[in-house]
Amino acid sequence: MAQLIIKDMLLQRKRLIYFTLFYNVFAILILQDFFLPYLVAGIVVPYIMLQTALAYEEMNKSEIVINSLPVRKEKIVLARYLTIFIYLLISILCYSLLTFLMNLFNLPLAGEPVSLAGIVVIFVGIGIIVSIYLPIFFRYGYIKGRVFHTVFTVAALILPTVAVKIIGENPELPGRFVVEDLVGVRTGIILLLLTLLILTISFNLSVWFYKKREF
Amino acid sequence: MDIIISNSVDEPIYEQIVKQIKNLIINGELEEGDALPSIRNLAKELQISVITTKRAYEELERDGFINKVAGKGTFVAPQNQALLKERRLKVVEEKLAEAVNAARIINLSLGELQEMLKILYEEV
């Protein structure tokens, strides 16, 4: 199973590095006024990386080979779930590195350092998105899964705009979305556990679907 | 050991192999105890099915020409010498019959034929 994760990394190595860098920089420079950059990056980067990985698999039709190898469907599915969280980790590391460098050179653009609460939020965010998307992908394949992708992308564009509008109309809300106020330690742990539960359910569903898939 | 098979002849390939190996044994080119190629090796070299070579070897074994030794391979069986000689004689007889027929066609007399035989016997 480790091989499958490595395989994903290997296939996307360039894209992974460049896109993560690009998006984190973009988030820091442009989005900083509205959202914590690492929050947005933490959701967008893993999700986009997942989509590109699946797109490539689809184009190559390599699922035929993977499913001809002596490997359990459970492992194939698990690898997909885990890879996303690895992308998440990479994004956070990238952000931290950038922030560190910026502070080192005293650039005024430096964003806030990553906080534990923030990580929880991203984990929950990506966890939920993936829990919904992956079973759809494993059941219907990549192309039909694009429907979800479209819906999600549209939502991802609309929601921030709406959020900006709300903040604009309610100036008493802080200019930036401050996470620490909202997420206490207890709430954080509950959210984490809930997300893990949802992920587990999603995982089992995905495995069930994938076992029935035909290639 | 040469075995030449033809696809365009009517005769089934396994029969061609049987015949040729029999002849090699009768002619003495293959002697008692000589090793034969494995059925798979033969099949690969001749580019035919291993089922064909298997069949050929089975028939040769049935007729007592070859022996399969478990774990070692296939070998030319000890031939009944009298039988072998008889078979070899038969080959000579057949060839002489051919010569006689050929001679008759051009009206060669028996005496002339015998002369030819004498000369050839000494030359060859």
Partner: protein, 286 residues
């Protein structure tokens, strides 16, 4: 129990296509799986590999159920498909790195020896390889883990005749090991003329014939004669009758019988596998 593959009453139903097949292959032989496009060859192979789900029937590989013991079986199967489905962005070496780790019996030395035999540069990206080399790569992957059963689905389509012959040579070598078996599906029957031990002929989802190639070549024949002879024939003797201006031609399954009936009035030729396939697809039996 030497059957390396046993397919029994395997059924799969689609809207406009119905598969129902039974056949088996013993160790030490190569079975050519022939039939026209769309006959069900790929479907059958995918069912064996559990890439498609069967509706009913059993598939046993190495005596084990192909679904219950799927992983164990796949450890011992080498597969070669009709196209390259490996990741074309990766190099040969990288791809091998991924694949090899799934197989318990992966033999790296064997892999390297095959690279040499095929003259394949492991540093090349898969997309940089020609179609023939890509197929050879697939074959190397299939052979480097001491697979007992090699399943090939139209491996030679799109390859030039020279590469095809090379492949057949290699398959010949593999069969020197009488414990291995090869199932090769193809619609290019000439590939099998030199190498197949058994032939299973499938058409429209059904097995038409499953026997030794020798049997087919010794009993089938292509018959040619005057059209008036069509009247005096035995029922069911002439298959796939084709009439032209000057006479008729047809396939017979029993050429001895045909000779009996028509005597000298017909010409009987040795059939190629393609003939055997071709005349039976049309189905006109007289």
């Amino acid at each position: 129990m030497s059957a390396i593959l046993e397919v029994d009453n395997l059924r799969k139903e689609y809207r406009d296509f119905n598969l129902n097949v039974s056949f088996s292959l013993e160790r030490g032989y190569l079975m050519g799986f022939i039939g026209p496009n769309g006959a069900g060859k790929s479907t059958t192979i995918k069912l064996i590999m559990n890439l498609l789900k069967k509706d009913s029937g059993t598939i046993k590989v190495f005596g084990l159920d192909n679904v219950k013991n799927e992983i164990e079986i796949k450890q011992r199967i080498g597969f070669v498909y009709d196209q390259n489905y490996y990741y074309d962005e990766l190099t040969v070496e990288e791809m091998k790195g991924i694949i090899s780790r799934f197989y318990a019996d992966w033999d790296d030395e064997l892999y390297r020896s095959y690279l040499k035999i095929f003259d394949l540069d492991p540093r090349k990206k898969i997309k940089e390889l020609s179609k023939g080399m890509q197929m050879k790569f697939s074959l190397i992957m299939a052979l480097s883990h001491h697979a007992e059963l090699i399943i090939m689905d139209e491996p030679t389509s799109g390859l030039d005749p020279i590469v095809r012959r090379e492949l057949l040579q290699i398959l010949s070598e593999i069969l020197q090991d009488e414990n291995k078996g090869i199932l090769l599906s193809t619609h290019i029957t000439s590939d099998l003329d030199k190498i197949a031990d058994y032939i299973t002929f499938i058409n429209q989802g059904r097995i038409v014939e499953s026997t030794t190639r020798d049997f087919l070549l010794e009993n089938y024949g292509v018959v040619r004669g005057k059209k008036e002879l069509l009247r005096q024939t035995d029922k069911g003797l002439l298959i796939g009758v084709k009439e032209n201006e000057f006479g008729f031609e047809a396939l017979v399954k029993d050429k001895a019988r045909a000779r009996e009936i028509f005597g000298d009035k017909i010409i009987i030729d040795k059939p190629t596998l393609e003939d055997i396939m071709y005349y039976q697809i049309d189905g006109k039996v007289v």
